[in-house]
Amino acid sequence: MSELTTHLRKDVRLLMTDPMFVILLIALAGIAFIVALMSCGGYVNSMTYGGDVVTQASLELKQKEALSNYWGSIAGIFMIIFTVIAALAMTGEKESGMLRYVLTYRTSKLRFYASKLLVLMSVVIMAMLIALVCYLVVFSFMDVPMLDLGTLAASMVFPFLIAMVFAAIGLTLSTLSDKKAGAVVASVAVFFILSLLSQMSIGLGIGAAYEINPAVTAQNVTEFIPLEYKLLIYSNPLVLGYGTTLMLNISGYDHYTNPHLFDPGWGAALGLAMALAWFGIGLLAFSRERMDKGWLTRLREKMRK
């Protein structure tokens, strides 16, 4: 049996024996159900009070907007939940001293760490499926026409990527803290700092673009955003929140509320790169737990000499 499988089996077993896991799944289902009801209500409302002639295309557009709003809300909730859950993934074992004990054996830290991320990924997928089921149940119950499976699947890509990036950030934070409370506080703080930075950098970036070219549109706004703002915008995982509207091809022409910040394919690649980058940063931070001198310490010593 490979070492990764050994760590995975242990992590899955720990997850399954943790009563908080069942509570988490129930809470996620409850939240998703409430958000789905609100989205469905908004959809029905928009259909009832709309003055336009109802066509198949307008129905589909409205429902796509409802779906996008639904995943937007779910992604926001998942971001904070998965940052906190991931921040606790390692600290429990660190706090008890079990991590240190396990690392006295010949253990690959990469595999140990990868196992944690894979388990988190599985929980994210589970949470996404629960959210999808809640959406389908509510919209079926309200007897409204359903979107095809391809559209539903496409709408889930960016919320999944956002949850994964935040899980990777949380896991990185868990390598830095030895206490559960510290990890939770750090993850909440990081979430709010990123949210604040995202709003500020996008707002200021678009404002700067408008100053350069007052005729800027949602489609070409990125061409006029200064580089420093671009760096801030595209390094922040919250930018992925703009992906679902683009994926569903419903982004409007308002460059402030729906800026066309990336193509869906490029955005998905950015999301993957962010998840991988945070995985790498986390792994680097985890190397501090190294028993004998790690490569970083050895390199530092060589440089000193």
């Binding site: 050994t6 077993r13 024996t17 008890s96 001293g97 079990m98 396990v102 010949r106 028993m291 004998d292």
Partner: protein, 305 residues
């Protein structure tokens, strides 16, 4: 380089802890060397802060060494060492079987399930193999910690304060366990403040102070001299005069008891000399030096000073 019987050798182990803000360093270990032979139980004794825990951490690779090496006849210490921490930690929600199975699989032990069951039975825990460890008593956890540490067939076992907090019954049981491990040929380095247990179990003692090994006492070593104690019925001024040419280690204030260091073959001569000058011997015999005496010899004079 280790010889055939030396299973664990530490050479010039050094470790300093620094404070990056004040640039102050504390030399926790300063060129510590030691050897552990097959089946030897060696006590590691010293006051708090002497460097015992640091030495154990360096041997186990829990902390990087500043200098020196740990060797095990060419074996990887991470594969050939077992470790029982001062406060054994487990995945508390898992059963002892699954706790051990994880370690067994990490070490690629063939037929891991059978090996775990065998060790659990050996340590009298087979009746609780499916019970979560969180329900275990301290004594049961200590037994499980030892069972887990020997699962991969280590050549040497490092035990940090294994008797700490155990009731007398558990201490006796643990003593039996350690003797059975010795019979398996496992060498043990036993850090402990329980000098009585050191007396009962150890073949040798390493005295450590201020990060240096200041003395190694071999209980079973073939030494040319013995400590011979003579007790008289009445004080007689002729007896001290008769012993004047001998190395008298101590004499009781009432003049009734003498402790003489002498070559073994001269013991009958001493008895004859004392009787010859009219000394009335009520008891005499070779005095076995205990860990407590040794501790007092090594540490108390300086503490008083």
């Amino acid at each position: 380089m280790t010889t055939v019987t030396e299973v664990l050798v530490g050479r010039d182990l050094s470790k300093a802890y620094g404070n990056r803000f004040t640039a102050r360093t504390v030399q926790a270990l300063d060129g510590v060397s030691f050897e552990l032979r097959e089946g030897e139980i060696c006590g590691l004794v010293g006051p708090n802060g002497a460097g015992k825990s640091t030495l154990i951490k360096l041997i186990m690779g829990i902390e990087p060494k500043d200098g020196g090496e740990v060797s095990m006849n060419g074996l990887d210490p991470r594969m050939a060492l077992g470790y029982v921490p001062e406060r054994p930690t487990f995945f508390e929600d898992l059963s002892p079987f699954h706790n051990m199975l994880y370690i067994a699989r990490l070490n690629n032990i063939p037929e891991p399930e059978e090996a775990c069951l065998r060790e659990l039975k050996e340590f009298g825990l087979d009746g609780w193999k499916d019970e979560p460890v969180v329900n275990f008593s301290k004594g049961m956890k200590q037994r499980l910690a030892i069972a887990r540490s020997v699962l991969h067939g280590p050549k040497a076992l490092i035990m940090d304060e294994p008797f700490s907090g155990l009731d007398p019954g558990m201490m006796l049981e643990l003593r039996g366990i350690m003797r059975s491990l010795k019979n398996r040929g496992i060498a043990m380095l036993l850090s402990s403040h329980e000098l009585n247990e050191i007396d009962q179990l150890c073949d040798s003692i390493l005295f450590i102070k201020s990060g240096r090994i200041i003395k190694k006492e071999e209980f079973n070593a073939i030494v040319p001299t013995v400590n011979f104690r003579i007790m008289l019925a009445t004080a007689d001024g002729a007896v001290p005069a008769a012993l004047a040419g001998r190395k008298v280690l101590s004499q009781s204030p009432d003049g009734l008891s003498f402790l003489v260091e002498t070559p073994k073959e001269e013991v009958p001569d001493i008895v004859a000399e004392v009787v010859g000058v009219g000394g009335r011997i009520v008891a005499c015999g070779i005095a076995q030096r205990k860990a407590e005496d040794l501790y007092a010899e090594v540490f108390l004079p300086e503490a008083r000073a």
